[in-house]
């Protein structure tokens, strides 16, 4: 191991342990539980509402006795073939004299979306909302019955269904995967990398920085701090992945085999895959997360190193967060338009590159380009760290009062130059 690498690991080890071996870290680690808890509460409330409302919606057809059975059969045939949400339950009534569709529509206890009355060839349809789907559905049912009646009995087509196992995922689904990756990486870096802004404040506060600066190159201090924090982030992610996997396993053993089989039957629906395949995509997304983390962490660290007080740190972190959100917008726009010029730009700008390239891994099956992108981003990590160190060395460590670049006065520089 080279001394430089060893120095990085010494600093990283110290930082990692000092973060992890505190009670506060547990709070940090379990913070998502609050989010999940809140989400579960909200979801429970919403599902209660949905449950109480479920089954109460209906469409009503008031028809002659001979039309009831054909309508029921047509409903059974069409209901499942319609794309999108299923139509409301069909309620069939035999027409009696003096029936008023408006009265039926206003019956208490059920939500009635549409009522059809009269002969099937020219029915009267009363609907709650003009041009509603429910009204169209009733008309479709009537047409279907008339058509079946006119054509006589036709054997339905007997298709053989085959599912595409490879390359079958739609571009839209791949784009969604890409967008999902962009968002998850962004969220994780926002939550985790932001901590690096205050990391050097500790050393400056307790004066350890001079020991570090004397003992090891500052580059390895900065990189060590980043990697220590990255270790914390990976621990955090691994913990929650393990929790999720464990919860999934427990859930599998708890539910009965029948529903597992049912879940297996719906598996084809889940079999969307990114263009590069799941294993490569997950690896690439992880590596891009690391790069996004290091890049943003380096910027945060560099800016935080310049700040003299906690308040300055907070003030400075706002522009960076805004910058970060701008990069998210760019990357998500790129994720939704793969192959466009915008996407290329987003992949080239170093700070949006990890996000945009993760999205690209979902829609484009080229793999070599990712090595190139990771190299490009790594160069930028090195560059940002180098610049941060230069600024830090020339400013903060020299102990001068006018070190802030936005406060450096021209006359001092001129004076110094003239004296040489």
């Amino acid at each position: 191991m080279t001394p430089f690498l060893r120095n990085i690991l010494v600093v990283a080890r110290r930082d990692f342990l000092s973060i992890v071996a505190t009670p506060t870290f547990l709070l940090f680690l379990f913070a998502p539980l609050f989010m999940i808890g809140m989400g579960a509460l909200g979801g429970f409330g919403a599902s209660q509402l949905a449950d109480s409302a479920r089954g109460t919606g209906r469409v009503v057809a008031v028809v002659g006795p001979g039309d009831v059975e054909p309508l029921r059969e047509a409903d059974a045939r069409l209901r499942d073939a319609l794309p999108g949400g299923k139509p409301a339950t069909l309620e069939l009534r035999v027409a009696t004299s003096g029936v008023d569709p408006v009265t039926i529509a206003q019956e208490k206890g059920r939500d009635t979306y549409a009522v059809m009355i009269g002969p099937l060839a020219s029915p009267r349809i009363v609907e709650r909302e003009a041009n509603s789907r429910s009204g169209r559905y009733l008309a479709l049912l009537a047409t279907e019955v008339l058509r079946a009646r006119a054509a006589g009995s036709i054997a339905p087509a007997a298709p053989r269904f085959e599912s595409l196992t490879r390359g079958g995922t739609s571009i839209a689904a791949q784009q969604s995967i890409g967008f999902g990756a962009v968002f998850v990486i962004f969220l994780l870096t926002l939550l985790l990398a932001g901590q690096s802004v205050g990391m050097l404040a500790e050393e400056k506060g307790n004066k350890v920085i001079e020991i570090l600066a004397a003992a090891v190159p500052l580059e390895s201090v900065f990189l060590g701090k980043l990697i220590g924090l990255l270790g914390v982030a990976i621990l955090f992610i691994a913990f929650w992945m393990a929790m999720a996997a464990g919860a999934g396993f427990v859930a599998l053993t708890q539910i009965d085999p029948a529903s597992v089989a049912q879940a297996g039957a719906s598996a084809p629906q889940l079999a969307v895959a990114p263009a590069t395949g799941w294993p490569f995509f997950i690896l690439a997304a992880f590596l891009y997360f690391v790069m996004a983390f290091l890049l943003l962490g380096a910027v945060f660290l560099g800016v935080g190193a310049q700040a003299a007080t906690v308040r300055e740190i907070q003030m400075l972190s706002l522009p960076i967060t805004i910058f970060q959100v701008a990069m998210l917008s760019l990357s998500s726009a790129a994720a939704n338009a793969p192959g466009s010029r915008l996407a290329t730009i987003a992949q080239l700008i170093p700070f949006s590159s990890p996000l945009a390239m993760a999205a690209r891994a979902a829609t484009d099956d080229a793999k070599a380009v990712h090595l190139l992108a990771l190299g490009w981003q790594a160069i930028w990590v090195a560059l940002v760290v180098y610049l941060s160190v230069r600024l830090f060395r020339s400013g903060v460590l020299s102990g001068r009062r006018d070190w802030r670049f936005w406060k450096r006065t021209k006359d001092v520089a001129a004076d110094t130059a003239s004296r040489r």
Binding site: E203, K207, V208, I211, L397
Partner: protein, 316 residues
């Protein structure tokens, strides 16, 4: 390889328009204990930082341990900064091992040495205590151990004695001598002359940003004439004429400075005069006096001609 552990030439540093260090050069012989003395704010700390490559000089250069740049020999150097700092949440043993690890020492070996150093310096009670629970002096001793735990060839201590009680100061002096005997070179700054006088083989005095003296302690003391304190047996006002000009009477005794070559003639005169000798001492002034003398001279030069500095600089 040469015989100097530190060779600094013409180190200069500006803080804005203020010249904090001006053309400071130092050569510290390998295996010696070297003191950098100076009043507060003279530029000692900045000079040391430039020598160690922590801050870049605006002019001049520094070479360590036989012509190496400071950055390449970090693992052979130990440094105690003026502003003490340790991670408060770390245990003493870990803090020392951490500082050793930064300089390339194995963690396990660092912990082992930490324990033996601390026991030796009477700190065995707090080996596994967190830094934040320690007194300032204790923490300073821990940091000092951390600076030398990797057995460096060059040890640089910035004001190591300040903040220590007399017992710990004694221990520190012992430690410095022992490290020298091990073969290390020790460079330390201080403004307490007693330590420098006892420890240093050579000293440099920095005042008003520049080096004003370099040499042995004795050479510094020799800058001032010896002081004579003479008490005659008889009380005769005529005695004054026999003594050099400037002799002052303090009670029974007379006090006056004397040049090296005037000692024997004076003794002869006193013996011949018949006034007798009730008491006689001829002593070199202490380093303290030499230091104050040098610093006052520099200050007087500045007060007399505030522009002198600027003129000197334009020549440089």
């Amino acid at each position: 390889m040469n015989d100097f552990s530190v060779e600094a030439k013409g180190l200069t540093k500006y803080f804005g328009a203020f010249r904090a260090v001006d053309q400071v050069s130092l050569e510290v012989p390998t295996g010696s204990i070297y003191g950098v003395l100076g009043p507060n704010g003279a530029g000692k700390t900045t000079s040391l930082r430039m020598m160690l490559g922590i801050v870049d000089p605006d002019a001049g250069e520094s070479r360590l341990l036989g012509g190496h740049s400071p950055q390449t020999v970090r693992h052979r150097v130990g440094y105690l900064p003026e502003e003490r700092g340790l991670y408060p949440g770390m245990k003493a043993r870990e803090a020392i091992a951490f500082m050793g690890a930064l300089r390339g020492l194995d963690w396990a070996e660092g912990r082992h040495r930490a324990a033996s150093f601390m026991s030796e310096l009477g700190l065995e009670r707090v080996i596994d205590e967190k830094i934040r629970k320690m007194s300032k002096g204790m923490a300073q001793m821990v940091q000092l151990i951390g600076s030398i735990v990797h057995a460096p060839d060059l040890i640089v201590l910035d004001e190591p004695f300040s903040g220590l009680d007399p017992v710990n100061q004694e221990r520190l002096e012992m430690l410095v001598r022992r490290e020298r005997d091990r073969g290390a070179t020790i460079l330390f700054s201080t403004h307490v002359m007693a330590h420098a006088e006892r420890l240093c083989d050579r000293i440099a005095i920095i005042a008003r940003s520049a080096r004003r003296f370099e040499g042995t302690v004795d050479a510094a003391r020799a800058l001032l004439p010896m002081q004579v304190r003479y008490t005659p047996r008889t009380d005769d006002p005529a005695l004054a004429q026999m003594l050099p000009a400037g002799a002052e009477r303090r009670g029974e005794a007379w006090q006056f400075p004397i040049e090296n070559d005037a000692v024997e003639p004076l003794l002869a005169r006193i013996t011949a005069s018949g006034h007798g000798v009730a008491g006689l001492s001829i002593v070199r002034p202490a380093l303290h006096d030499a230091f104050v003398h040098i610093v006052r001279q520099v200050d007087a030069g500045f007060d007399a001609d505030p522009e002198a500095d600027a003129i000197e600089e334009s020549e440089a």
